[in-house]
Symmetry: C2
Subunit: 278 residues, 2 copies
């Protein structure tokens, strides 16, 4: 029976329940984080932890545990996971409040959920995917990793209707991100990715890829670009903590480059794999 | 022990729990509805029911019950409520899916929650409130009554920090609505309220007040207006299903009219009370 952590206890997954008056359930009043684990070592943990703290602070939820307590929880869940490679999922909501009312009560006890799921480790370049341009209708604080995700879900569904893996979200033609990934394009061997403003969630993998590229001597620009620039790029790829680097070879009706994963994408994916905990 | 309805069963409020894998908890993947009940009669039920169906359809959740089944649930909960006047809260999420993934599975069974809470019936004009101008950062489908409400919560908190009851939300100066209410202003005895587009949730009470006003011979315009027009209005009030009509006499630093509830607001609130089920 697989266990998860919920509010101070380790419980069977199938028994893990929260009150219907949890503000996470009623108001999406919470945040989350997902941390990849390679060979039982959480990857770039400090950065994920810092982002979680930032998300909590942004919506005014007190830190429910210190770093050491989090680590104890992760360790126990990882120890009981057969897989070497996994993904840690953390969700913190503002807590349970009754009766339902928009304004949160003072001094609430946050609800804390942690689960660990096996993650398939890409040993070679992922298969290329298609993405679909869809207008980004989400709120203007996409930099907060909140569970208020209905917009992301509907936009993902819209992309899937067109046989695409992810939406290529844009605001009036200006590219933002995917439903759960960031985008990069390659133009004349230079990397471009939208800036980490309030319109995107600044991915840890996005940041890591920028660093890898710069260390490898590549130029990286974090300036906004348009849908047309994606269509006309030499290469395009997406990044996410659980998918790492995935080549994008089609955007809507447009083939990108020669329709095959390009040399820069391949090189960065290799660099990424080489830097994972072994 | 107060009972609520959850997934086919009537359970004690304190025992009512959903799986942590409910998509309502993980992704805010659900919608809700709140229906006022006067003297045990749901008010404008058909309109609320139609809006609930519309919300479900908008995000692709199948109707979990027919109208008769809903009514049976409401009746039982209302029968066990001591209060004559109440508010029915309905929440429907896409259901439980494991493991967590953005894309919903096919043929999921929706999670259905219904609660009934006592409602205080205003017997006279509510006390006037202050509202606070706050930039509307929410998504662009505010016409869907979704539980993806973190934006609303943060904006409500921002207003409360300034001693206001509700935010006066605006996009670049164009007024939209409150965190959980609609706004009207009065200019030379004419009513104005923002149009029911995708930037606001078209309130049932908003619609009802427009009809009451028109029947009473007043002109009502549903054209966009600015913050400045609120500040300079003769009167302002908010509407919501549970609060009916509440006079607004201050917006940020600006006193509205003479700082007291105006004659049009009073007249409409009287008309409203006269039309409630007695």
């Amino acid at each position: 029976m697989k266990e998860i952590y919920l509010n101070g206890e380790f419980v069977a997954e199938s028994e893990a329940r929260v009150s219907v008056f949890d503000r996470g359930f009623l108001f999406a009043d919470g945040v989350y984080e997902a941390i990849p684990v390679y060979h039982r070592i959480p990857f770039l943990f400090d950065r994920h932890y810092k982002r979680l703290c930032g998300s909590l602070e942004a919506i005014g939820i007190p830190f429910p545990m210190n770093e050491q307590e989090w680590m104890r929880v992760f360790r126990r869940l990882l120890d009981s996971t057969p897989s070497e490679n996994a993904s840690i999922y953390i969700q913190v909501t503002r807590g349970t409040q009754h009766p339902r009312q928009h304004a949160p009560a003072d001094n609430m006890t946050p609800t804390v959920l942690v689960t660990v799921s096996p993650m398939e480790l890409p040993e070679q370049l992922a298969s290329p995917v298609k993405i679909e341009p869809v207008e980004d209708i989400r709120w203007l604080r996409c930099d907060i990793k909140s569970i208020s995700l209905l917009g992301n879900i509907l936009l993902k569904q819209e992309a899937m209707k067109h046989g695409a893996a992810e939406p290529l979200l844009h605001r009036a033609g200006r590219v933002t991100e995917g439903a759960a990934c960031n985008y990069f394009i390659v133009e004349q061997e230079q990397l471009r990715t939208p800036p980490a403003d309030q319109l995107i969630l600044s991915g840890i993998t996005r940041e890591w890829v920028i660093e890898l590229a710069r260390k490898a001597g590549m130029k990286v620009s974090e300036e906004a670009f348009s849908l047309a620039e994606v269509y006309n790029a030499d290469e395009c790829f997406l990044t996410s903590s659980t998918r790492e680097i995935v080549p994008v070879t089609q955007a809507g009706e447009h083939q990108i480059g020669n329709g095959k994963p390009g040399p820069v994408t391949k090189r960065l994916a290799e660099l990424f794999r080489a830097q994972r905990p072994q």
